[in-house]
């Protein structure tokens, strides 16, 4: 087979060979970047939210050890994606997160206790999706991609200026739903941004067993969706890329696919034993590419961040963590009668009977 050259269309759809970045791993701006460096206030906010997000994450992990959370999938190491993408959203945009994206949720403003309700075992969802325009944290992999496309397409039909950002993992890209979502979005020109957090593993399964493509971003061209490969540990790059993609989608340019290369520092969840499938050198190499370090160094070098300000933010993060601890110490108030509510808009006769039976049992 021979290739006769690359058309302009192809050129506009393919990702770059190397991940786009604005800051290198030491926080030094890269030469001649293909992305626009966010404004200083944005960078400062990225930093602050990452500090808070990370503190939240370690707090949640600690809560699993105390038995206050049933399970917690940490996003430690992925905060550039969690925070960078959410800050790039406009108020009217929607976020469709997965189970791993609790940090994204709190960054979006969802109450941290409500964020953790699912993982606490209290109810399937603790927050109102419409309050902050955040879909339910999604467990069945890749299924949320289609919800995002539907919601965004409906917004367009209604003439609303809304973009949906959907988060998914490297593993989730293998599911049929991801394919269908990218295709529907492209055909409909739906304003959706797909952000794949490629953290190297689907539980224990490494990328080499997940895909043989040059990159996951190379999937985009097969749908006619412009794609970006970016350094997912660079908060500035994530922010800039998502911002650009959202602007394009809002302007009627259709969907975009972003693969952010990052790494899950913790095990899949507290219940997982990552030692079975990866070694500590690999983890160490990624710790060296830490997103928080990177932006902190940059801001410090630029003189935008001093020790005092850092201490302030750290204190804020500690307060936040304390509020989470406190919130999670309270047992959630759960009424068994609620089991029968909201199965249908109005409980059926059979459900009313079953509810009565349970009530009787509990009374006796």
């Amino acid at each position: 087979m021979s290739v006769t050259g690359l058309s302009a269309r192809e050129r506009s759809l393919l990702p770059t060979d190397l991940p786009l970045a604005l800051l290198d791993k030491n926080g030094i701006p890269v030469d001649d970047p293909a992305l626009e460096m966010p404004a200083d206030e944005v960078l400062l906010e990225l930093h602050r939210r990452i500090v808070i997000g990370r503190r939240f994450d370690t707090q949640a992990t600690a809560l699993t050890r105390q038995g206050r959370l049933a399970v917690y999938p940490s996003s430690r190491g992925q905060e550039a994606c969690e925070v960078g993408s959410v800050l790039a959203l406009r108020e009217q945009d929607w976020l469709f997160p997965t189970y791993r994206d609790s940090v994204a949720l709190v960054t979006r403003g969802v109450d941290p206790v409500q964020t953790l309700t699912l993982l606490q075992g209290g109810w399937h969802l603790g927050y109102d999706p419409y309050e902050h325009k955040v879909g339910p944290q999604c467990t069945p992999l890749a299924t949320n991609t289609l919800h995002a496309v539907g919601l965004a397409h409906a917004a367009r039909l209604k003439g609303e200026d809304t973009v949906a950002l959907v988060l998914l993992g490297d593993g989730a890209t293998s599911e049929g739903d991801t394919h269908e979502a990218l295709n529907f979005a492209a055909v409909w020109k739906a304003p959706v941004v797909f952000l794949v957090q490629n953290n190297g593993y689907a539980i224990s399964v490494p990328m080499s067993k997940q895909s043989a493509a040059p990159s996951l971003a190379h999937k985009g061209i097969g749908y006619g969706v412009p794609s970006y490969l970016i350094d997912g540990n660079d908060p500035a790059a994530v922010y800039a890329t998502v911002r650009e993609a959202i602007a394009a989608a809002a302007a009627g340019g259709g969907p975009a696919l972003i693969e952010a290369r990052t790494y899950r520092i913790e095990a899949h969840t507290n219940a997982d034993d990552a030692g079975r499938y990866r070694d500590s050198e690999e983890v160490a190499a990624w710790l060296d590419r830490d997103p928080l370090d990177r932006i902190e160094r940059y801001l410090s070098t630029r003189g935008l961040l001093d020790d005092e300000r850092r201490a302030e933010i750290q204190a804020e993060a500690e307060d936040f963590a304390a509020s989470v601890r406190e919130g999670m110490n309270a047992e959630p108030e759960l009424d068994p009668a609620d089991l029968f509510a909201h199965v249908y808009a109005q409980p059926t006769k059979a459900l009313r009977e079953q509810a009565a039976m349970l009530a009787e049992e509990l009374a006796s």
Binding site: D128, P136, L146, G176, D177, A181, F184, V343
Partner: protein, 338 residues
């Protein structure tokens, strides 16, 4: 144009088409989409003319992917729309099973009522049309066992119109099963929606000796059987369930307590089929009124047969009459399933 005529003789397909048109007219949040539902009008012509009339923004063809159709319908409903989607044939709804089961059915409950999904999934189902493999499944039991879904199926053109309008207006997701062998059967249709509520069964034919419980494609067969049964001296009552989930205990229990005998009929395989639920719950409620165990006349426990053999698989008048005959009128003990 739509309001002048109150009552009309229509085929079920035309009644469904009319229901969609009236719903699109009545509520701009209603959207109709799926495979070939646009310019072609659907392979059964149920959406005929709708995209021309309401525009391709509201009635449109999608890429060929059922999970995609249901998954995007969920997202649209989250954003205030009322999607009515078509699965081209019953077996082709299976790729959407995860979206239906894990999301469509459960999201209201999972979000404590915050997310409401008024989605209707239209599924042409059942056999009797000479369709080749994968075109004749009866998949109702997969849906009725999934809490959060409403499952309804019309047996007449009149119900087709009313139930589809009601399904579209329902705040709950509805699996709307269309008995494809009855698409071309005609009957009166009233457009004033004066029939019973969506979750009610109806007595299609009163009788005092035995209750025949049927739904969808088997309603006509049950009525035929009832007519034939008069020759044998049996006065058969025919109950058309209409709503498979929830189940209308009241209507069915009242009938069976009165007749003391019952047969449930459906096309789907019997084993672990919907008829089992009917037998189990009606027996629980009517045990001491029963002269004989409730029998089931169903498709066999086999994959749907090829066209030239389907007549042997599908419950017909004779097989139902046989079952009625085995209801221990003289107190002998015989079971249908051996």
């Amino acid at each position: 144009m739509t309001t002048a005529v109150r009552n009309q003789e229509l085929s079920m397909s035309a009644a469904l088409n009319r229901a969609l048109a009236d719903a699109l007219e009545a509520d701009e949040r209603v959207l109709v989409f799926g495979e070939d539902v646009g310019p072609l009008g659907g392979v059964f012509r149920v959406t005929d003319g709708l995209s021309a009339r309401f525009g391709e923004q509201r009635v449109f063809d999608t890429p060929l992917a059922e999970s995609g159709i249901v998954g995007t319908a969920i997202g649209m409903a989250m954003n205030g729309m009322r999607p009515v989607v078509e699965m081209q044939f019953d077996a082709f709804a299976y790729p959407a099973f995860e979206q239906i089961t894990s999301h469509l059915a459960k999201l209201r409950n999972r979000t404590r009522g915050r997310v409401e999904l008024p989605v209707v999934i239209r599924v042409p189902y059942g056999g009797g049309i000479g369709g080749v493999e994968h075109h004749c499944d009866s998949s109702e039991a997969y849906y009725t066992h999934t809490p959060g879904l409403r499952v309804v199926t019309p047996g007449t053109p009149g119900d087709a119109y009313q139930l589809l309008r009601d399904a579209i207006d329902s705040p709950d997701p509805v699996i709307f099963l269309e008995p494809k062998r009855r698409y071309w059967s005609k009957g009166p249709v009233a457009f004033d929606r004066s029939g019973p509520a969506m979750d009610r069964a109806v007595v299609r034919r009163p009788g005092k000796d035995v209750t025949l419980i049927a739904y969808g494609p088997m309603v006509a067969t049950a009525l035929e059987t009832a007519a034939a049964a008069t020759e044998e001296g049996w006065d058969v009552e025919v109950v058309d369930l209409r709503s498979l989930s929830p189940f209308d205990d009241e209507t069915v229990t009242e009938s069976v307590r009165r007749t003391g005998r019952a047969v449930v009929v459906h096309e789907a395989s019997g084993f672990s089929g919907y008829g089992a639920e009917v037998v189990a719950r009606v027996t629980e409620r009517c045990f001491h009124h029963l002269h004989a165990p409730i029998l089931r006349v169903t498709g066999f426990d086999i994959p749907y047969p090829p066209p030239k053999l389907e007549e042997h698989h599908l419950p017909g008048v004779d097989r139902i009459l046989d079952a009625i005959g085995r209801l221990q009128w003289d107190d002998e003990v015989v079971g249908f399933h051996g």
